[in-house]
């Protein structure tokens, strides 16, 4: 579904990503983990088109994604739930969800998506007229995910949904993400610093360090890898 080959991204002269290759198959749950500054957010921004790579190729289904203008990429069924949530602070919860459904697919399937979102995150229904900027951090994260789902995407990209949240809230969010994957069969690409939670339920994982993929493999391979266990899982 998503195939990235030898992607190179630089800010000014500084390399943020070096020869990154990555693959996501339809229906998979793929996790990208790594420490601060590894280039995880940069990878997502490049997929969404906010950052332009120096070299490399991104194919999405039959499309050459780098040839598609950024605003058009959402139309292809890619939903990007950005780091730090980035809700539309001055708009209501409901308006945020409506904006999520701005792309063609989202409009066509608005009713079903809304029902699904409110079932996953009932709190959003209770607070539908509240300004998004006044929601708590956890609620904002749920709204950001809800906004992503509102586009009725094929691929849901989540950038550190755990950022700045309390452990109990993080658990709840991860549980919902699994539910979205399992029950609704959505393909998920997750970036996380919380390696244990991220790797636990993924089909495939990538470890990114200073802009390079240092390790990749299926769930079992990574979980049994001694370097991963030592560095990230504290075992």
């Amino acid at each position: 579904m998503l195939r990235i080959r030898s992607l190179n991204v630089a800010y000014g002269g500084l390399h943020a990503l070096t020869d990154v290759s990555l693959e996501v198959e339809r229906g998979q749950f793929v996790a990208v983990v790594g420490p601060n500054g590894a280039g995880k957010t940069t990878l997502f921004k490049t997929i969404s088109g906010v950052v332009t790579p120096v070299a490399g190729e991104i194919r999405y289904n039959e499309h050459d994604l780098l040839a598609v203008p950024p605003a058009e990429r959402a139309q292809l069924g890619i939903a990007h739930v950005p780091e730090g949530r980035q809700v539309f602070a001055s708009m209501t919860v409901m308006e945020n969800l409506e904006m999520g459904a701005y792309a063609r697919n989202g409009r066509a399937r608005w009713r079903e998506s809304l029902e699904m979102i409110l079932a996953l995150f009932p709190v959003l229904g209770e607070r539908r007229t509240q300004l998004a900027g006044t929601l708590s951090g956890g609620e904002q994260q749920m709204l950001a995910i809800g906004r992503g789902l509102a586009s009725a995407p094929e691929l849901l990209m989540l950038d550190e949904p755990s950022m700045g949240l309390a452990p109990a809230v993080i658990d709840a969010i991860f549980e919902r993400v699994h539910q979205i994957h399992k029950q609704h069969g959505l393909t998920i690409l997750l970036v996380e610093q919380r390696v244990a939670e991220a790797l636990e339920s993924c089909d495939r994982g990538y470890v990114l360090e200073t802009g390079r993929v240092v390790l990749e493999g299926a769930h079992d391979t990574l979980m049994s890898n001694s370097a991963v266990r030592r560095a990230y899982l504290g075992m």
Partner: protein
């Protein structure tokens, strides 16, 4: 007793005058509110777009008389309304080719630098528009002729100038129309989203550059309508933008940045302060009174009178 009665009448007369003027100020402020309050673009040329609106109305009604067939009563009103789309196109083009270079998603990361270049650029546009206006339109003060400006409705002892009253009603109607557009329509919401968070807006598939262009055109177009409405009760020349830009910024800040309704109330308040101050202050100090109120509000309530605070602290 008689004296007290006239004091009360004077008070209400000034109040009514303030309300009527304030309505058009309110509409002007709504236009600036979209650009400055919501999109956070510092537009020094805003008053000059209003000036263009005044001349657009003038040439449609009096100058070329394209609207003469509508008769002396309807023509000035239609002229003011048509000033909107004309200035919208001018604003759209200026944004497309100049202003977009210093605003939008690309400069979000360097907000402060963005503001410097916006100030320089829009100040330049302001100078070009005002002086270009001087060359094109001449320096003779003009006004849109309407028989309404010489007639009044009497309510008890209070006189309501008909041109100003109709201008007020039109201003309120346009402000409500714009509010409904921004809060109800899909395009309106997309414009707000693109202004609120350009990057997230791009992620949901909004063409942010296009949204900013439309919002900018809309902002200057709305202010041009307000200018067109004022043009039939006040004379103007190409430099009038500089006078009004102060009124507009005061109104927007007063009403609370980022709130469209607030901007309208802010402008209305400015109109009231300006007219009511004539009760106690000499006529020449009208604008000083605006500044005093402005400073007081900044001092005691920096979020504006009607500002909503949505950033959690």
């Amino acid at each position: 007793m008689e004296e007290l009665k006239w004091l009360v009448v004077d008070f209400f007369q000034a109040f009514a005058a303030g309300l009527l003027v304030g309505g058009t100020y309110g509409l002007m402020c709504v236009g600036l509110g979209i650009i400055f309050g919501v999109m956070r673009v510092v537009n020094f040329a805003h008053g000059d777009f209003m000036m263009l609106g005044m001349y657009a109305a003038y040439y449609l009604v009096t100058g070329f008389g394209v609207l003469a067939f509508l008769g002396p009563y309807a023509a000035p009103i239609v002229g003011a309304a048509l000033a909107g789309p004309i200035v919208f196109v001018i604003g759209w083009l200026l944004h497309r080719y100049l202003i977009a270079r210093v605003t939008g998603a690309r400069v979000v990361s360097a907000e402060a630098e963005g503001h410097y270049s916006q100030i320089i650029l829009t100040l330049g546009i302001a100078l070009v528009l005002a002086n270009g206006g001087l060359i094109l339109f001449g320096s003779t003060p003009l006004s849109v002729q309407t028989p309404l400006s010489r007639e009044s409705w009497e309510i008890g002892l209070i006189f309501l100038n008909q041109a100003r009253t109709i201008g007020f009603l039109m201003a309120v109607a346009f402000a409500i129309g714009l509010y409904v557009f921004l809060t109800r329509s899909s395009l309106g919401k997309a414009l707000r989203a693109a202004a609120d968070n350009p990057i997230a807006a791009a992620y949901v598939g909004i063409d942010v550059d296009r949204a900013h262009r439309i919002a900018f055109g809309l902002g200057v177009g709305i202010t041009a309508v307000a200018g067109g409405l004022i043009a039939s009760s006040q004379s103007f020349q190409p430099y009038i933008g500089f006078d009004f830009v102060i009124v507009m910024y005061a109104g927007v800040v007063l009403g609370g940045m980022g709130s469209i309704l607030g901007a309208f109330w802010g402008g209305l308040t400015i109109g009231l302060v300006q007219q009511m101050s004539t009760l106690v202050l000499p006529y020449q100090l009208q604008n000083t009174a605006i500044f005093v109120v402005f400073l007081l509000i900044i001092f005691f309530r920096p979020q504006g009178m009607f500002g909503r605070v949505w950033e959690r602290t």
